[in-house]
């Protein structure tokens, strides 16, 4: 990684940490610069504005989720197994990157995130949607609008990770399997 890329990366990383720690409005550019060890102008060299910085961060984190969700994904495996693989990957990714999760949780709704970024983030669900479509075609899951299916099946994921990070529950591999089973039971026919 070149020096420039390193600097860009450390700015994004610092932004992530500070925004999660203090909130978007309490993470001034001056603080980000100081904590990242660069001058304020340097940030503006890589990112035209704070809004842009936040949106780039959002998209990179979404991209990372995207790249991890299909780890060990076998397109020929049975539907139920493919479902479990994706969901397991998501759980693990979020638990491994709590800051990413908290940032995405909190700012997915924010007006700071542009519609374009939101649309980008939505592409995340392309493969699962495909999976659900197959599943419905094969009458493995309930008959209902595809979106409904996806929203129902994915909902517990965020809720549980949040519960884990706020210490309401303690997720381990066993409970994760229990949880995914519940997700599956919610939609399976």
């Amino acid at each position: 990684m070149s020096d420039e890329q390193k600097k860009r990366a450390i700015i994004l990383k610092t932004t992530l940490r500070l925004v999660v720690e203090h909130g978007l409005e309490s993470a001034p550019m001056s603080l980000i610069a100081k904590e990242a060890g660069v001058g304020m102008g340097t940030i503006y060299h890589y990112f035209p504005s704070k809004d842009d910085l936040i949106n780039v961060l959002y998209r990179e984190l979404k991209q990372a989720v995207h790249e991890n969700m299909l780890r060990n994904y076998d397109y020929n495996a049975p539907i139920r197994e493919r479902f479990f693989t994706i969901w397991r990957n998501l759980f693990h990714h979020y638990l491994k990157h709590p800051l990413d999760f908290l940032f995405l949780e909190q700012y997915s709704i924010s007006p700071t995130i542009t519609l374009e970024s939101k649309a980008f983030g939505f592409k995340l669900w392309a493969e699962p949607m495909q999976l659900f479509e197959n599943a419905q075609h094969q009458q493995v899951v309930k008959e209902m609008p595809l979106y409904l299916l996806m929203l129902i099946a994915s909902a517990p994921l965020n809720n549980l990770v949040r519960g884990h990070l706020s210490n309401q529950i303690k997720l381990d591999d066993g409970l994760i399997e229990v949880a995914i089973t519940a997700c599956w039971d919610a939609i399976k026919r």
Copy 2:
């Protein structure tokens, strides 16, 4: 309702609308005052600070959810029926009060909402938790930590309402029943 209560109410209502429309940081007190048709100082007569205003709003909206979730609730009805009643009430309440839902969605995580307010909001789940405890005792639902159960069963609710309000899906009474059934299937034994 006295004049004073009316003014307090209109301030809260205006705040709700503006904060949901523009976000917390883009809803200045001056704008709230103008839109509420009062002087800025008047807001400070009823609420010591913006943070307090937001927290009071949060608690009042949570309180309204609380009061509606147990409508037609029969403590002697079968567990599954009681579950459906609460979930149905919640769906209807949120769909009827979209601003309430969006505000609670967005600011439940925010650092502006104090731990005290969050704890207050959490009392919302006392009765469902009781219900789940009974259900588990009677082996009607899966064996897992109570919190996990609750987080799983409640997750789709928020997700679906959000999907509905963002026009990804169109919830009607039929789909609501389908959704609640999915929630139930997720946890039922």
Copy 3:
């Protein structure tokens, strides 16, 4: 004292306390009203404005000093004795009414106190000035402008009372005599 006079008096007394405790700008009319046990409008019934209230207070406290400084004053006594009498009275008055002293100390310079009020306060020194004039005429004190004489002789008074109230020194009747002697020695021929 009539009810109205009592109310007026309690407003002044409360103002004195709060202004000394918190400072002029941190003693809002609303607080004065609350602590005085009256409505805010009531204050405005007795005093047209906050500035006026402060000026009236200033003049009443000055007036009280004036009335006390000549206690036991014998116009026929020797000059030195008359000097001691006045100075002793002043010391005792200020030590007995520390709030009065602190208020006069702090706000004599303030732009809030009008020139008119300051002029009123200055009349306090009419009799001592007369005394000094006599003293000079009889060559009891040094030859210098009258004002200079007065400023020199009166200066230690405020300084010592302030030192006493801030616990730098502990004035008692003995030290007060020592102090007045010093004042006298400063100007005596």
Copy 4:
């Protein structure tokens, strides 16, 4: 002096002038900025808050007094001469820097000035106190608590400078000597 130091200095100088002219509460940061020819944010770059700005100013002015009071001070000169030297220096310093004097006069009492700053300002009197201690030891001055001695001897100084600046008297070198003599006579044995 670097550009940055110059800016800091002009802010302090402008603050001094405006605060003395209008009073602390009538010298808004916006006015200080405008008169200093800088942006408001610039002030906050050098001073974290208005209170801090005022305290720094206080300490710098006190420091300047400190540095001037011992000009031509000969530690081996007779006590009386040393006393005259310090007092003369103080008179001249204050008359030369009337704004400094008025600021210190007015805000030494103010709650805005922190105890720390007041303590700093008090160090000003270390050398005179030493002098008085010697003087007392050599029985040159009256027997009384040291603080009392100092408060008595220093009191006319402020009073006279104030009188001069408000045109009640007109101090010249001759009257200054007369005044210092009076101060000395007040405490000499």
